[in-house]
């Protein structure tokens, strides 16, 4: 199915060098609406958020009342208190990304390479990857919670088979949170890798075989490096939302050793009404992600990816 194929494309697409053109200002007409939108609804709000991160409480004011200031100490305080959650977020996001890669790559490989030329099968498998998007992800997460519950089949069976110590459990653990993250962002890993693999010329694999490379060697020396753009795109698309997620942590974790920064930001924002702290944590999170992503993209040599 071309739609889903292109959908994969999306994220792995490496733009070709743009042709030189006479400037006819046409680009302003094309870009204008979109960029103005982004400025209005992204740049300005994020700017405001930045400002908020420096606010101080109104002296003697009620809960949630703040006034403009340049109180950089907010950042120090916020980090001093919440750095464990921040680090944990990146750690969980990293684990989820690796897990999604390990699970998602074979899926993408089977869809793109093994099912090559079988359009119906390919389309079906692709839609099976995307379709969970259409069943609310909260429902799915809750379903996981029920499936992995202490009294449910999986845990009982594992206890019975002694795969799990008798007092161990699966829900409300870091494991549950990471697997929830992995699960929920898996399609974002599969699609770009699929797109990259689909573009892989099967003749290159034959060339590898012709040049004495065994299937495993061919994979290592040809398939894997050529799917790198997809892998990079996929890892970014999993890592970024996972690092900022709070739904999985609050539904599947909810303990101090699973607290993620998203939960903290949400709680500071909505429950404590501590806007400056929430804002400064947001800014820190955003900057940290940008720095990590920038370094990663540069290292993997796929700058023109995005």
């Amino acid at each position: 199915m071309s739609i889903t194929a292109a959908l994969g494309d999306s994220v792995a697409g490496v733009a070709a060098e743009p042709p030189r053109r006479r400037a006819r200002r046409a680009h302003l007409v094309l870009l204008g609406p979109g960029l103005i939108y982004l400025v209005l609804f992204f740049v300005v709000p994020v700017g405001a958020l930045l400002a908020t991160s420096l606010y101080v409480p109104v002296p003697g004011g009620d809960v949630g009342e703040y006034q403009p200031a340049f109180h950089w100490q907010n950042y120090v305080d916020a980090l001093a208190q919440f750095w464990p959650a921040l680090l944990r977020s990146f750690w969980f996001a990293f684990l989820a990304t690796v897990a999604a890669l390990v699970i998602g790559y074979p899926m993408a490989y089977v869809i793109a390479v093994r099912a090559r030329g079988r359009k119906l099968l390919q389309g079906l498998l692709l839609v099976l990857v995307v379709a969970p998007f259409f069943t609310s992800f909260i429902l799915r997460t809750i379903a996981w919670k029920q499936i992995l519950a202490d009294d449910a089949f999986v845990v009982t069976a594992m206890h019975f088979l002694h795969l799990l110590p008798a007092d161990a459990r699966l829900t409300a653990t870091p494991f549950a949170v990471v697997s929830g993250l992995t699960y929920n962002f898996l399609p974002f890993m599969v699609l770009p890798i699929f797109a990259a693999l689909e573009r892989l010329d099967p003749r290159l694999l034959e060339a590898g075989a012709d040049l004495y490379a065994s299937p495993v060697t061919t994979f290592r020396t040809v398939t894997w490096p050529l799917s790198m753009p997809g892998v990079v795109a996929g890892t970014l698309l999993v890592f970024i939302p996972a690092a900022g997620d709070y739904v999985n942590a609050s539904l599947l974790g909810n303990n101090t050793n699973t607290t993620m920064i998203g939960q903290v930001i949400d709680a500071r924002f909505f429950k404590v009404l501590d806007y400056p702290t929430a804002a400064s944590l947001s800014v820190v999170l955003m900057v940290a992600i940008l720095v990590l992503v920038g370094a990663y993209v540069r290292r993997s040599g796929t700058e023109d990816l995005l």
């Binding site: 870009l31 992204f42 955003m286």
Partner: protein, 288 residues
């Protein structure tokens, strides 16, 4: 997967005693990956299956424990208060934000690929930023902004927020398509007396449709399933994921499962239909 098995079978056709051990290894190698992938698909679909199964649960106040099979929920999917309203809202938000984001994003994508201008790099970065911003941050920033502007929260603000995070995905998707489009085609159109406007509508646009459709699909699924940003920017406006999240605290009505299952089946059906139609058409063409 049948493809793989077929091929494995094919390769073992010719007999030769020396090859036996090698053949075995090969068959193993050919099978491991698909089996692993199949397990991954199971992993991906188990909760979906759970959701579908519990849409048939004869549930009471909560839908946590299996109480018995019933078709009632499917016969009366709007039975639970608010569920259909939330679903309709989600559809509405999804469609409207998809339309806007797709239109804006497509234009930006064309400009970014086809033109070289000063500030192109910054424009690219601006597109990438919302994608790399965690949803909590986006939601929080937007909410603050809407409050400052005293915009009443509701449909409008939700759409505005969804358009924001969809645009980036649309741009990236369409960009890949535009980049793979041969610029010579537009030149050929110009050469054949088509004005720039005509060249766009008659050549560029039709060729971008698959990319645009993919982008729209992606945008719709992102919007339809979004909870975090929606939660910040919706005020009292309820979308389907928000409804599910809120009702999750006490028990999600089975009707929510019905609607989710329905969407899942619908997505499958559409793809199969598109495939079958496309197959029939190509067959007809080949037949001629």
């Amino acid at each position: 997967m049948t493809a793989v098995l077929d091929r494995a079978g094919e390769s073992t056709a010719a007999p030769s005693p020396v090859r036996t051990p090698r053949r075995q290894r090969r068959r193993l190698g050919d099978v491991i990956v698909p089996v692993f992938a199949a397990l991954a698909f199971v992993y991906l679909l188990v909760p979906v299956a759970y959701t579908v199964v519990f849409s048939f649960n004869d549930a009471g106040k909560t839908n946590l424990v299996w109480q018995g099979f019933t078709l009632d929920n499917w016969q009366n999917p709007c039975g639970a208060p608010q569920v259909c309203e939330a679903f309709a809202n989600s559809l509405q938000v999804g469609v409207v934000s998809t339309l806007i984001a797709t239109a804006l994003g497509t234009l930006v994508a064309i400009a970014l690929v086809r033109f070289r201008f000063r500030g192109r790099a910054s424009a690219n970065l601006l597109i990438f930023l919302p994608m790399s911003t965690p949803e909590v941050v986006l939601g929080a920033a937007l909410l603050a902004q809407f409050l400052t502007l005293r915009v009443p929260l509701g449909f409008g603000t939700v759409v505005a927020a969804h358009v924001l995070f969809c645009i980036s995905f649309v741009v990236v998707t369409v960009k890949a398509r535009v980049a793979s489009l041969d610029p010579a085609l537009e030149e050929a159109a110009a050469d054949l007396y088509a004005s720039p406007w005509q060249a766009f509508w008659r050549v560029t646009f039709p060729l971008l449709i698959p990319g645009i459709a993919a982008a729209a699909l992606l945008a719709f699924s992102l919007s339809f399933d979004d909870f975090i940003v929606t939660n910040f920017t919706s005020g009292s406006y309820t979308t389907f994921p928000k409804f599910v999240y809120v009702s999750a605290t006490r028990g999600i009505p089975p009707q929510a499962n019905v609607i989710s299952s329905f969407m899942f089946v619908l997505a499958l059906a559409i793809v199969v239909l598109v495939q079958v139609l496309g197959y029939a058409r190509s067959k007809k063409l080949r037949g001629r």
